[in-house]
């Protein structure tokens, strides 16, 4: 029997392994803008210099908006059986970016716009070979 493995949803997206994982982004030193996922250039059409550096982003932010998915998403995602609704967050972080990701550790009825959330890394789904595909998620910060 093969051992169950963790597979990153993609390289270069977040610091891993880590106790306090952070999203990896591009910061433009010329115009100050941030880009997630990271990019090889600054996307601001008015920015001339485009001097970019790789940075990590703030782990906490405020819930800007949310949804809860009640129908299983299509492949490559492998929904749990039985399917459990998936809360989705759009989180505004201090850098000014809004990041979209799954929410965990919260019931749909407890979701409130404006609540503080923290970045975590966990299983998005278990693929057909039994490996956990891991990515960034958001979890509520206890007051």
């Amino acid at each position: 029997m093969t051992e169950k493995r963790q597979i990153l949803v993609g390289e270069g997206l977040f610091t891993w392994p880590s106790d306090k994982p952070k999203l990896i982004a591009t910061h433009c030193k010329s115009c100050g803008d941030y880009f997630f996922p990271k990019s090889f250039t600054c996307h601001n059409p008015k920015c001339k210099e485009k001097q970019v550096e790789e940075v990590t982003l703030s782990q906490r932010g405020k819930l800007w908006s949310y949804s809860v998915l009640y129908y299983p998403p299509p492949p490559p995602f492998v929904p749990r059986d039985p399917f459990e609704p998936i809360p989705i967050a759009e989180v505004e972080i201090p850098e000014g970016l809004k990041i979209i990701g799954m929410m965990e550790g919260i019931k749909p009825k407890d979701i409130k716009i404006g609540m503080t959330l923290e970045l975590t890394v966990g299983t998005l789904y278990t693929d057909k070979n039994g490996n956990d595909v891991i990515g960034w998620k958001f979890t509520p910060v206890k007051a």
Binding site: V9, G10, E11, G12, L13, A25, D33, Y34, F35, F36, P37, K38, H43, N44, P45, K46, W64, S65, Y66, S67, V68, L69, Y70, Y71, P73, P74, P75, P76, F77, P79, I86, I88, E90, G96, L97, K98, I99, I100, G101, M102, P108, I113, L124, Y125, V133, G135
Partner: protein, 395 residues
């Protein structure tokens, strides 16, 4: 620039047609448009066609495979893909071909057969160092309606839009769609039925998200000066615009994972720019429009688009639905065709539902759906990756 008119339209009835080849769906529709225009296929000097994404390699070059069965004549064929806004882009290229004086008779066409349920992910054959945002979002479990849901929830929070307001948009579309023999869903839905339908992507319910259909549309465009030879009712293309996103757009667009909003950039900036460009080109404003065909992909869309297209202030669109002003007979009929809510999406073709409807309305051939005294209509169609197009037609 040469002025451009529409002299013929065809629209296939929408539904699911697994037994009918898409080329046949397209041929039937094109023949309807040609007969409507009173021209022969062999008269068509250029074909602009939607390039499918679900139909594999053959679908990618849909225009060529369609022409093959219509009978090849060696004309220029251009295949266009601007996501669900493709028909608008097809119209724009067809319009420009005539406006530039390159050709006098052009066909714009699009046909699609949709997969069932959520539009799925597509394979990527390139080798890349990092997965694209579009690849990532499928792995995070984000089908298209989730992005609309995020915008919709925020709107509800900001402006007091209720679940009942969302349901009302579907009710209005269904009251129009029931009158349209080409529509797939011809039944009036009550607010209660909509609210009792299954939650899909909270706050959007099953009946608040358009289905995925098979369908086709075709339009014959002509140099206006030569149109009189074919018709007594040429419909004038007052504007045909295409726009893309503006840097700093705050929208959770399809697909996005990190949004970088900038002050002053409007939500769905591509749609705002396309509408503005169309008004500028036509030399008119929203107050001159008699009815609107907008992309009601979900219950969020009509609310957003009425504001984006300049028909009301931000945060007030749901009030137009509450006051029933959006019904045929109201101050601003919205989607007299029944909209995508009554037709379903067929990515390459859905914009042609709108073109067909405006032409029928302006010719006063819309039967029970007729908007009385309609002289000017606008259509706007929306696609993933910040694709958008607007079209203003007048008598």
């Amino acid at each position: 620039m040469t002025r451009v008119a529409i002299i013929g339209v065809g629209l296939h009835p929408w539904g699911k047609f697994p037994e009918k080849p898409w080329t046949q769906i397209m041929v039937d529709t094109a023949r309807e448009a040609l007969a409507d225009a009173g021209v022969e296929w062999t008269d068509i000097q250029t074909l602009i066609a939607g390039s499918q994404i679900w139909g594999g390699r053959k679908g990618t070059y849909a225009g060529n495979y369609f022409a093959e069965v219509m009978g090849e004549t060696g004309i220029p064929i251009i295949n266009v893909n601007n996501a669900c806004a493709t028909a608008g882009a097809v119209m724009r290229v067809a319009y420009m071909t005539i406006a530039s004086g390159v050709a006098d008779l052009v066909m714009a066409a699009g046909v699609d057969k949709s997969p069932k349920g959520f539009f799925p992910s597509l394979p990527v054959y390139h080798q890349e160092p990092m997965p694209s945002v579009d690849t990532l979002r499928w792995n995070i479990g984000l089908p298209n309606p989730v992005f609309w849901a995020l915008e919709c929830r925020r709107r509800m929070e900001l402006y007091g839009v209720t679940d009942a307001d969302l349901a009302k948009t579907k009710v209005v579309m269904s009251k129009h769609g029931v009158l349209n023999p080409k529509a797939r869903y011809r039944k009036i839905f009550t607010e209660e039925e909509v609210l009792n339908s299954a939650m899909v992507a909270d706050p959007l319910r099953l009946y608040e998200i358009c289905a995925t259909s098979d369908g086709a549309g075709a339009v014959v465009l002509c140099n206006l000066q030569k149109a009189k030879k074919y018709t007594t009712k040429p419909i004038i293309v007052a504007a045909s615009s295409v726009a893309s996103g503006v840097y700093g757009d705050p929208t959770a667009r399809i697909p996005s994972l990190g949004i970088n909003p900038k002050p002053g950039v409007p939500i769905i900036s591509e749609s705002y720019v396309a509408a503005k460009a169309a008004y500028d080109q036509a030399g008119i404003g929203p107050e001159d429009i008699d009815f609107v065909e907008l992309p009601d992909n979900s219950a969020w869309h009509p609310l957003q688009y009425l504001e984006t297209m300049g028909f009301c202030k931000e945060g007030e669109s749901h009030l137009l639905f509450r006051k029933e002003e959006t019904l045929i007979g109201g101050k601003l009929p919205v989607c007299p065709s029944g909209g995508f809510s009554s037709f379903g999406e067929a990515t390459m073709a859905q914009g042609f539902v709108q073109v067909y409807e405006i032409v029928k309305q302006l010719r006063e051939e819309a039967g029970a759906r007729q908007v009385k005294g309609a002289k000017v209509g606008i259509a706007e169609v929306y696609g993933a990756a910040a694709n958008n197009s607007a079209l203003i037609l007048k008598k």
